[in-house]
Subunit: 418 residues, 2 copies
């Protein structure tokens, strides 16, 4: 029988009543003829409780013990879900990560999945079991200890199972009903997308549309796993949610699929840097070592005798999360004092936001950037930094214009139309 993977997040299994509701959805898919692998998170709040205890016990904890404690939340839900399905007369049993076994690296609290041998579960399917309920977010290390995959690891678990079992689809049940062209709280014309390409989803996820963990989308893209994001609080239907899939499965698409944004950006300009080969590597190596996640990078000017200085000099601008700004400044000043980096001064700005348009159609369509810049100009919004990739154009603007920019771009690219 074809295999379907269904994943239920913490809010979807927060109470026994919600577990029952989720189990009913599983029952519907079983009735359709699927063998189902259900991946469950801990009941909402439970993981935070456990993490809190670990932090209070040991601020610099042994990650192996952290994993042993924190993984217990998913085990509880897995057992309760199996019992609920059994009550509905659906043959089901639970598996903990080590029982599957879901083999991972030894990088505790951030382990990567290495292998999921499907034999045990397939044998049970052969014997008439219809649902394997698997505790998400956890696995077993080569040393036989419990590992966790880090926050959001349950999505990744689900996709990895879908790949290992060659599942027809991986349905991620969550508390939103799909992926939108932009955040409906910022733009009321935002429209739910029926389909979106993996690459677009990756750009949207990393830009702040936090529906799916980036890592799970990357994995789905690599193994070409069809992912569906849908709400566990809506009536079930085949058209529910958003399908995240390969480009080849999207017949027609708009040039731009969505407008993403991020409020918490800071802009740093390193003024008058001596422009010698390797200077960018020095700057961004320094920032990386300090744990600063640099996003956009622009080298504004590069000419000799600039600002009256001798030799070649340049200005270098980058953006980073606003809460990393202090760290970035300190790292750069320290490098200057140590003599590894020469510049005149740092100019920082914290009241900026990033707005991006994303779409795989850009690859074949020209003029997207021009239309974007024109739209912003018509609204009187000044662009501070521009960065582009194959399927994304991002700009940094004053934060006060962020909502306006999102709404204007949503209109300009006609995203309200399917």
């Amino acid at each position: 029988m074809p295999v379907l993977v269904m994943k239920f997040g913490g809010t979807s299994v927060a109470t026994l009543d919600r577990i029952r509701r989720a189990a009913k959805r599983v029952g519907i898919e079983v009735a359709k003829g699927y063998d189902v692998i259900v991946i469950v998170s801990a009941m909402a709040g439970k993981t935070n409780e456990l993490v809190g205890w670990v932090n209070e016990t040991s601020p610099f904890y042994d990650a192996r013990e952290y994993d042993a404690v924190v993984s217990s939340g998913e085990n509880v839900t897995a057992g309760l879900m199996a019992l609920t399905l059994q009550e509905m007369e659906v043959p089901a049993r639970s598996w903990q990560g080590w029982q599957v076994p879901l083999r991972t690296t030894s990088a505790h609290s951030a382990a990567r999945i290495e292998e999921i041998p499907p034999d045990n579960i397939l044998q049970k399917f052969d014997e008439g079991m219809r649902v394997a309920v698997v505790a998400g977010f956890q696995g077993i290390s080569p040393e036989g200890r419990i590992t966790t995959l880090g926050r959001g690891g349950s999505d990744t678990t689900a996709v990895a199972f879908a790949a290992a079992f060659d599942a027809e689809r991986c349905d991620i049940y969550t508390d939103v009903d799909g992926v939108y062209t932009t955040d409906p709280r910022v733009c009321e014309k935002a429209r739910k997308l029926d389909r979106i390409a993996f690459e677009e989803m990756l750009e949207l996820a990393s830009l702040g549309a936090k529906v799916l963990q980036t890592r799970s989308v990357e994995l789905a893209m690599r193994y070409n796993v069809k992912l569906r994001v849908l709400s566990s609080f809506e009536e079930p239907s085949d058209e529910a949610g958003t399908l995240v899939c390969g480009e080849d499965q999207i017949m027609e698409s708009n040039v731009v699929s969505g407008v993403a944004f991020s409020r918490d950006e800071a802009k740093v300009t390193i003024v008058t840097v001596a422009d010698r080969p390797g200077i960018a590597a020095t700057i961004f190596g320094t920032l990386s070592e300090a744990g600063v996640n640099v996003d956009m990078i622009v080298q504004n000017v590069s000419e000799s005798d600039y600002h009256g200085h001798e030799g070649k000099v340049t200005d270098m601008t980058f953006s980073c999360p606003v809460d990393q700004l202090k760290r970035a400044e300190k790292a750069l000043e320290t490098a200057r004092e140590a003599g590894g980096l020469a510049f005149e001064r740092l100019e920082t700005q914290t009241d900026v936001a990033k707005v991006s348009v994303v779409g795989i159609g850009m690859r074949s369509q020209s003029g997207v950037a021009a239309r974007m810049f024109q739209t912003l100009a018509q609204e009187g919004i000044n662009i501070k930094v521009i960065a582009t990739s194959e399927i994304k154009i991002s700009v940094l603007v004053d934060r006060k214009y962020m909502e306006l920019a999102v709404q204007a771009l949503h209109d300009a690219f006609e995203l309200e139309k399917a």
Copy 2:
């Protein structure tokens, strides 16, 4: 290095603060030179919460899923205890039942321990680890599924580890400071015993002095594991608590070690039963099938032409827990209607209590029964049923005399004196 097993019950690990206090005691034993195996229960209340969820989900639950859910409470405590010890710079790690592995039968929720291979933990001790924290109450079945040993299974886990590792002692930390000659709430002269023999402890435990699970005492007796019961809320000392050990380790003891009692008894007399061979087997077979735990049994009279009946007849009296009385009556009446058992009527009494004196000294000393009956007679307490074993004499009395009987016997056998 010598191995010590320390077990902490739910109230002793109910909060992070109490876990710290327990860890300090472990640290003291490590400093003395012991390698320590710590067995932990779930934080007080957690197991009940999990059991509640299972019962609400599925009244006739799959015991395998019950075990998977309920065992998670101990896993949390084990990880937190290991982290706490690490914070105190005591090299420690946690083990879940399947990691040891603690192998059990497949009798889920009431599994019996089959084997504890000590190799994994001993290897870690060799490498410098000083404390192995093991989640109590759980193991792994031959099918690779999680089992639990039933309520109180953590005590049994501790004793089994002490046997498997040839531990010097097994310390059971609980919320009482030892085993008393009787319940101090009933008799203010009750005295804590320094030592008690396994056999005496078994009689006291099954009679209601609920300090240690009967099963763990049986296991300790079989493997001659020295058990110490002590409070985790007292200052630690070598004299703390009560040592439960073999008779050979008790130099001098009173003839009677303790007075036990049980309030919730019922007495049933089956009046005028045809006395033929096998009649007792029929009666108590019937009761056993109905799940009635019969305690004392007395066949009062057995003679021909009794009560004017022809042939040999008898009266049969037994006691059972008062909440099983209805079941017992129904089972006997049903057997009579089915024709397998002939009797005139049932006489039942629910306002009775059982009082017992227990002591291994009885084996060599005569006159204990006489002194007991005399003491009760002096207080005007009528004895309804008498039952004796090698180290115990029990009587059934009117419940209103129970406290008086306990106090009088405590005085008569001078139990306040060491």
